[in-house]
């Protein structure tokens, strides 16, 4: 059973190897190989999905493989999945064939190299989620940069070189900090890089823990990206080819939030508690700031890129809430963002393929011309703004209620400001829809746009189905995350108890505040109308 995970990791790489042996002037063969291998990876990964035991008694990491690699340095090939990694792995294996199919007409030059880059990228992404060895994680983490650098730099738009160098350097510099921290952690943990062992045996002074947390956190925060480390994202998204944007938004950004969930938070819980108000503040700033940026963009891709800053801010806020609802919502919102923003980039890519422009002003009234693209775009928009019944609502609702109920300092204020991001989200997305699809069709170039082709229907339909299924029946997607969320909460509860033992005057900071508030909604004298009662609870 365990070998299945390694098969899923390396199947795409095998496809890339096969492509390397096929002649470069046979683009159809490369497209076929890439699609076949990515579909095979999806098919095999279904065995992981159905084989995963999401009960509380099940082992934390499943499908584990542990082989020696560089034993003298304590580095091993250790892979395994918890529920959250499983969800993100499934997102990756589902999204990649869609992305590959979407490039069949968009990419006509250097198809061989393009497909190899995409397949190598898929292996690196799956490996990053599956790795349980710090060095192995770092290797996969950095391996993602190379194909992405090429995807943007070779197949991108006009300003691609600037964007790709910026993307590479920005994320690389931050990752090097993480490498230093990884080495330090391994030395402190007795010379092993194994994640599970390190997490158990790591004991570092509070001062060092703070620095280690920051080193990890900065690497992840750049990837998320959190305000104010986000400016590489609009450039990379705008210049990348559609496939690059979809992968970047769909999976790569989640590496940052996943990194917080898997590494920065559970390895250094005390430091995470210490920096939590700051990170939550940056997350909320990111939510509103990203939304405001989206409001004034003239370029469709730039608008969607800034909306990612806003949405990922929600994910970070959910993680920092340190409540079951917040963490679950954060994990769910990672998936949602992958689906809805991935779909948005696919649709924008389809328009770009037809008109070769991303400028919003170049469009207008094209719903009459391309009714099916318009329909899909509106559905995806509604998911992106979190309309009830779509996946986005479930995530945002869990995050906001989790934050509101949590023990984050001034939780009420924080969640109220974050909620304005939901409103602004509706404003910029609906304005985009109105300006692109509705109103008068006054640009002559838009008169003869073809609607969705059969291939494009196959590309976009799974995304729409995912939006509806994840919105109406979220339970199957929430269930695998629950054990991981509970474990992380328990880790933080233990850390909080330790801190309170050392300093009895310290208020509790993890989990949900007493039912006072929840019940208080009905019970006016002690509830909402009495903020003082709340203030004494979380000073």
């Amino acid at each position: 059973m365990a070998v299945i995970l390694s098969i899923v990791i390396f199947l795409p790489l095998a496809g890339a190897l096969l492509c390397a042996f096929l002649p470069g002037n046979e683009p159809t063969q490369h497209r076929g190989v890439a699609l076949t291998f990515s579909l095979a990876a999806l098919f095999v990964s279904l065995a992981l999905w159905f084989g995963f035991d999401a009960s509380a008694a099940a082992p934390e990491f499943q499908f584990e493989t542990k082989l020696p690699w560089i034993s003298s340095l304590g580095i091993g090939y250790h892979v395994g999945l918890d529920g959250v990694a499983l969800l993100l792995l499934m997102l990756t294996t589902a999204l990649t064939p869609i992305v590959i199919l979407s490039t069949f007409t968009a990419v006509t030059e250097r198809v061989k190299e393009f497909m190899i880059a995409l397949l190598v990228l898929e292996t690196a992404m799956i490996g990053t989620f599956a790795a349980l060895d710090l060095v192995l994680f770092y290797v996969f983490w950095e391996a993602m940069l190379v194909p992405m650098y090429l995807l943007i730099g070779i197949w991108g738009s006009e300003n691609r070189l600037y964007a790709t160098v910026k993307f590479f350097l920005y994320t690389f510099v931050a990752s090097v900090l993480m490498l230093v921290a990884i080495i330090y952690v391994s030395v402190q943990a007795g010379g092993t890089f194994d994640y599970v062992t390190v997490r158990q045996s790591l004991h570092v002074a509070p001062g060092a823990q703070a620095w280690l947390f920051l080193a990890f956190a900065v690497a992840f925060a750049v990837k998320v990206p959190m305000f104010p480390l986000h400016t590489w994202l609009p450039d990379a998204h705008t210049e990348a080819p559609t496939a690059g944007s979809v992968i970047l938004a769909g999976v790569l950004l989640k590496m940052g939030t996943f990194g917080f969930f898997r590494y920065a938070m559970p390895l250094f819980p005390e430091a995470a508690l210490r920096f939590r108000p700051a990170i939550a503040t940056l997350a909320v700033i990111g939510i509103v700031y990203g939304a405001l940026m989206s409001l004034v963009q003239k370029d469709m891709k730039r608008l969607v890129a800034y909306s990612s800053v806003s949405h990922l801010g929600f994910v970070m806020l959910g993680l920092m809430a340190l409540t079951a609802e917040g963490l679950t919502g954060g994990v769910y919102q990672m998936l949602n963002h992958g689906v809805s923003t991935g779909a948005l980039f696919l649709l924008v890519g389809m328009l770009y393929e037809r008109r070769h422009t991303r400028a919003i002003a170049e469009y207008g009234g094209i719903a009459k011309q391309v009714p099916w693209i318009a329909t899909c775009f509106v559905i995806v928009t509604l998911s992106s703004v979190g309309l009830p019944g779509t996946n986005g609502f479930v995530g945002e609702f869990l995050i906001l209620s989790g934050t509101w109920l949590g023990r984050l300092p001034s939780a009420g204020f924080v969640s109220a400001v974050a909620a304005t991001g939901v409103i602004l989200g509706a404003v910029y997305m609906l304005l985009l829809v109105e300006r692109v699809f509705f109103g008068k069709l006054d640009n002559e170039h838009n008169r003869h746009l073809p609607d969705l082709s059969l291939r494009e229907v196959v590309v976009i339909a799974p995304m729409l189905i995912a939006i509806a299924v994840m919105g109406l029946k979220p339970q199957p997607f929430l269930a695998p995350a629950k054990p991981s969320v509970d474990r992380l909460l328990a880790t933080f509860q233990a850390a909080d108890d330790r801190l309170r033992l050392a300093d009895p005057s310290r208020p509790q900071s993890v989990g949900t505040a007493p039912t006072e508030l929840a019940g208080g909604l009905l019970d006016a004298p002690t509830g909402l109308l009495a903020p003082k009662a709340r203030a004494t609870e979380t000073p």
């Binding site: 400016t231 405001l292 409001l295």
Partner: protein
Amino acid sequence: MQSPASSAWPQAGLVAYVLGTLAAAGTSFYMVRLYALTFVGKPRSAKAEHAHESSKLMTVPLWVLAILSVVALFLGLPEIHSLGELGEVFKRFTEPVFAQANETLGAEGHHALWPFAAAWVIAVVFGGLAWAMYAGGLQNVPEAFATRFRGTYRLVQDKFRIDELYEVLVIEPVKRTAYWLWRVGDAFLIDGVLVNGAAKTADFLSKAFRFVQNGDIQRYVAIMAAAAAVILWTVLGLGGR
């Protein structure tokens, strides 16, 4: 009117009644005005001259709705014993819905007839006024009112300028903030000064150092010789003393 429910704010019931009554007065006024301007008098446009009855598809549902609206009148009649079972049908129908609220609020069911009569009086008076102003003998009043109270007339015509207020107070500030935040905060400060600034600093430093590392061997040797002389001078010779 006075009930324990309004104990927190005793005038609540009265204020609600007055506001509701004003709304009712306005409703009957504007509905009669609408009817008068649409169906009564001479056609005011070429299109109106050629207006014709709509198809059965439209008229039949309208008949049904018209009949039902009259039926609704009987459902809402107050309890008058001479009417027998007809009175307060709607109230009895909705009683279970409000049962709990009535219990909590301690609302006593005492029935006065005068609000029913007042409602009718208001409807008839304001409807009649509208009829007089738009179909009857007072047809010069609207014009006179509009000229006399120009400001009020324009304010009402502009929907009290709520949209404009909203535009000024919310929409424009948000747009402006977003734009300046983007130009100054994002593009200039964060991306320009910090991110590209770091790149430009590295670029500047490397260019500065490149000036010395120009690959000219003779110059390297000359600098080496000069440096060696300085070191020797410092260590062995005059500089050491």
